[in-house]
């Protein structure tokens, strides 16, 4: 393998100093002060029909410019999911409906000269509701007597996908391989447990925000905090019934996304206001609104049944997932699919399996994309089951995991069976260092010194647990990334990419890939990303795709540019191009004659007096496969038997993400995901009142881990090389979200002999389980 100079180096993130010094601009930092202040009126009811809406008093208020609602905005069905076109999510929403389906649903939008006037106007909108029976329980959603949320006009834009609004079924995934029923019969043991995971907020520190204005040519320009600028452009144009060419979407710096901003929420609204009033407009969600009316992690109930032999061989696996979509169905099909597709192939030696998945509508907040995207939900169950199997068989769980997991050269029928609406893609694993991850992680944690030791200190008892996980890397033959490069005078380059840097560092690592191809440094490349007018198409930052898909595009693009440079250099030196070599630092040499030209000379020659051409190219890439990254994740915890409180000492992640393009940034992705996952495991959850309203929609009441809560976090990037990825890279950002919760669950069992199946592990739940266990032992 060629020696790498730029890839594999922890280059300082290109935007980090400008961010640290406060100079970099986020969406709201670009406000000009002349924007109309927009405010949403939200539903106080979980389910109601709007009998009438009278905005006349609000409109009459001085300073109110417009009020939009179901009575004056065209009903265009769409999904807010920022996915490919057509989206594999049901078209079950309109901008403003005559029915509200959850507390926080949109009723109207006020645009006013000031915030104070907008608030006053919102209070003056008279809405007459007829309350409808609401359902908050997913297990009741399909009962015939349960109220239906949709069904009038809602439809699935990809016809072959199951969608039955008449049953509150937003999606269904069914898969059977082999003969699970027969195999359960033949098993020595059958374990069946029901697990559940809860609602959670992405809690990106920058709330959702967008603003719009008309440019001098009358085009609609939207600055927005989005992961999907191109989908935002398309969906906004569609809802406003204007050509895509009329809309420009720009993503400035963005304060985190984690999936929450893969949703087109505010762009159509500010677009609507500006398009109709011809005035600039802004809309920023409050933290409360981010919790209640933006998107969440889909809660899921996972029933997992495994049949296995005394030696730990799993004969049959049956997983039944019931996913809560909430009131609408963005990502209803894809998150459900991923809960099988990015989990079950890990156990590819299981010949008999059945997956039954349903996503159902309930009158609760709306689920969406969230780091881990369904895989998090399923891995929570499979990893506890793995621990149960190991203990039942008296096996070392690490050795059992190593024997069970998918290996290089192997495949899984699940890959072929499931996909994003078009069926799956057959793929063979070309890189998997999971066994090594297990060994390295165990060593870093001190696994064998702590496992089964139940070390006590006062009322605290210590335990360790492990989880193995996989994810994907982009969506094969679905996700597209593109990049454009051009050479400038002086020999520098512009790199223009649709790819969306969410703080992940993609601007940096993609520049590293281009720099590697051309033998230059990142400083020689000026990066521009995420502007639908100036950068080429990219589906956006989701599905763990950017490094692989956008990176693949950048590599192709840079390679074409390199070819062009080579051709010009050959002409300049009057030597055959095949004999040229690229030396580091932007120099082309002809070893036979000692002739050489620099990139600066090539640029001069092409732009002035020589070939008279712009050196430049556009490269596109879409994966043929989705090589999974793998993690082995470990938790070292203590539990206080008097209070039920869990203290996490150490979380270790050993990850196979292929060749990390930038190790420091790759570690950062893991560390952030791990702490987010710890919060999810221990305390992050939505609480509801009886009417379906969220009662903890604030950072005061919804706990996000702070610096004092963070345990020691260790990340090990295991040597790996994925041959289909740019310079051997796979994805990194999502997979580490999956393991901490089950690893903590397994550690809790190791410490205290209690198994908790329902997240989060609050002290109340842990204490109750401990008491139950003590009572069980006493009797």
């Amino acid at each position: 393998m060629k020696e790498l100079r730029q890839v594999g180096r922890s280059v300082t993130k290109v935007d980090s100093l400008s961010l640290a010094s406060g100079k970099a601009k986020f969406t709201d930092d670009l406000l000009q002060g002349d924007e109309l202040y927009c405010l949403l009126l939200e539903s106080p009811h979980a389910h109601a029909e709007i009998l009438s809406l009278d905005a006349s008093e609000a409109e009459a208020l001085p300073g109110v410019v417009a009020v939009f609602h179901g009575g004056n905005v065209p009903r265009v069905l769409y999904t807010s999911a920022g996915q490919g076109n057509p989206e594999p999510s049901p078209y079950d929403m309109v901008l403003f409906d005559n029915r509200v389906r959850f507390v926080g649903d949109r009723v109207a939008l006020v645009a006013a000269e000031t915030e104070e006037i907008a608030r006053e106007a919102c209070a003056k909108i008279r809405v007459e509701y007829r309350e409808l029976p609401a359902n908050f329980r997913p297990e009741r959603a399909r009962d015939p007597q349960t109220p239906r949320l949709h069904g009038d006009q809602a439809f699935m834009p990809i016809e072959e996908l199951p969608y039955r609004p008449e049953e509150n079924v937003a999606s269904e995934v069914l898969l059977t391989i082999g003969d699970p029923d027969g195999a359960f019969e033949e098993s020595d043991f059958v374990e069946e447990h029901s697990y559940s995971v809860q609602y959670a907020s992405h809690a990106a520190l920058e709330p959702h925000t967008s603003h719009a204005r008309l440019d001098p040519m009358g085009r609609l320009v939207i600055h927005t905090s989005t992961q999907v600028p191109f989908h935002a452009r398309r969906i906004t144009a569609k809802l406003l019934e204007i050509p895509v060419a009329t809309v420009r979407v720009i993503k400035p710096r963005i304060g985190g996304g984690f999936g929450g901003k893969q949703e087109v929420l505010l762009e159509p609204l500010v677009g609507l206001v500006t398009w109709k009033t011809r005035r600039p407009a802004r809309l920023t969600l409050s933290r409360k609104e981010v919790f209640t009316s933006a998107r969440t992690r889909h809660p899921m109930k996972v029933r997992l049944k495994t049949g296995f032999l005394k030696d730990g061989t799993i004969k049959a696996l049956e997983m039944e997932n019931l996913m809560t979509s909430g009131a609408y169905g963005p990502h209803a099909m894809t998150v459900l699919t991923v809960s099988a597709w990015k989990c079950l192939p890990l156990y590819n030696k299981v010949e008999n399996l059945r997956f039954t998945g349903h996503t159902v509508y309930t009158n609760t907040p709306v689920g969406g994309a969230y780091r881990g995207y369904g895989a998090t939900q399923s891995h929570f169950a499979t990893n506890q089951q793995l621990d149960i199997i190991a203990r039942t068989c008296g096996k070392d769980v690490l050795e059992l995991a190593k024997s069970l997991h998918i290996k290089e050269g192997e495949t899984s029928p699940v890959f072929e069976a499931l996909g994003e609406g078009k069926g799956g893609v057959t793929q063979t694993i070309t890189s998997c260092k999971l066994s090594e991850c297990i060994d390295r992680g165990a060593e870093a944690l001190g696994w064998y010194e702590k496992r089964d030791k139940k070390l006590r200190q006062g009322s605290w008892v210590r335990g360790v647990g492990m989880a193995i996980c996989m994810q994907g890397t982009g969506l094969p033959r679905v996700d597209l990334g593109a990049a454009t490069m051009k050479m400038n005078e002086g020999g520098s380059f512009n790199l223009l990419m649709g790819a969306t840097d969410l703080g992940t560092g993609s601007d940096t690592i993609l520049a590293q890939i281009a720099a590697e191809v051309l033998g230059i440094s990142v400083e020689d490349i000026v990066v521009t990303s995420s502007d639908t007018d100036t950068t080429p198409f990219d589906v956006g930052a989701y599905a763990s795709s950017t490094t692989y898909v956008s990176g693949g595009a950048v590599k192709r693009c840079a390679e074409t540019v390199k070819e062009q440079i080579c051709e010009v250099a050959a002409e300049m030196m009057e030597v055959p191009r095949e004999e040229l070599i690229f030396a580091p630092g932007g120099e082309i040499r002809h070893p036979g004659s000692d002739k050489k030209v620099s990139f600066a000379e090539v640029a001069q020659y092409t732009l002035y007096g020589g070939t008279l051409q712009q050196i430049g190219a556009t490269g596109s890439f879409s994966g043929e496969v989705s090589p999974p990254p793998f993690t082995a994740q470990f938790a070292d915890i203590s539990v206080d038997c008097d209070t039920g409180k869990i203290k996490v000492h150490h979380l270790v992640t050993a990850i196979d993400c292929g060749q990390p393009i930038n190790p420091t940034l790759a570690e950062g992705q893991v560390e952030g995901a791990v702490l987010n996952a710890m919060g999810y495991a221990l305390y992050e959850e939505y609480r509801f009142n009886k009417k379906g309203g969220v009662t903890n929609a604030s950072f005061w009441d919804y706990k996000v881990p702070g610096p004092m809560d963070a345990p020691k976090i260790t990340t090990i990037l295991v040597d790996s090389y994925e041959e289909t990825g740019p310079y051997g890279a796979k994805s990194v950002s999502e997979v580490p979200m999956n393991g901490p919760a089950p690893a903590i669950a397994n550690a809790l069992y190791d410490a205290a002999g209690v198994r908790l199946y329902h997240l989060p592990f609050t002290p109340e739940k842990v204490l109750e389980a401990l008491k139950k266990e003590q009572r069980g032992r006493a009797s």
Partner: protein, 158 residues
């Protein structure tokens, strides 16, 4: 109402409503390095130094900051040269989305002023009140240690 402020060493005179928060006034006047994450006094993104004390500017009435010295992260650096903490955050990989970073750096600055060589535990305590959702705080703590070293070295040189 009308009031005078000293922001990053420069005198300012502004008209503002009496119930306006310092956060909103600063942002209105172009100090966009002060970020708004929650408006609830919890996340620390809007931290500024008020008379060299760290405050959440979303919880401070602008009127109460009149005639007082306010510093944002922009006021830490001298001229074009970035502050050692800013460089340290960049070098350590402690800046992901960067939304929390200006507030985080001010919190670190306050800590290091009191305690130039803090332990890891002291750093965590010093940053408590500033959320970061991207980094897991690992590289932020490294950055504060690195920044502390840089500041101590600078002190010695001067």
């Amino acid at each position: 109402m009308k009031g005078s402020f000293i922001v990053n060493g420069l005198p300012r005179e502004w008209e503002f409503p009496e119930d306006m928060r310092l956060l909103d006034l600063l942002r209105r006047e172009g100090y966009t390095e002060v970020k708004c994450g929650c408006r609830e006094g919890m996340c620390g993104s809007c931290c500024v130094l008020l008379e060299e004390k760290l405050v959440n500017s979303c919880q401070v009435l602008a009127a109460s900051a009149m005639n007082r010295e306010i510093r944002t992260v922009m006021g830490l650096s001298e001229g074009e040269e970035p502050h050692p903490l800013e460089t340290a955050f960049a070098e350590a990989g402690a800046v992901q989305c960067g939304f929390c970073t200006p507030g985080m750096i001010l919190a670190a600055y306050c800590l290091l002023k009191e305690n130039p060589d803090p332990s890891e535990e002291e750093i965590r305590r010093g940053l408590d009140g500033n959320y970061c959702r991207c980094t897991g705080y690992v590289k932020i703590i490294e950055a504060v240690q690195r920044g502390a070293r840089k500041m101590r070295e600078k002190e010695v040189q001067e």
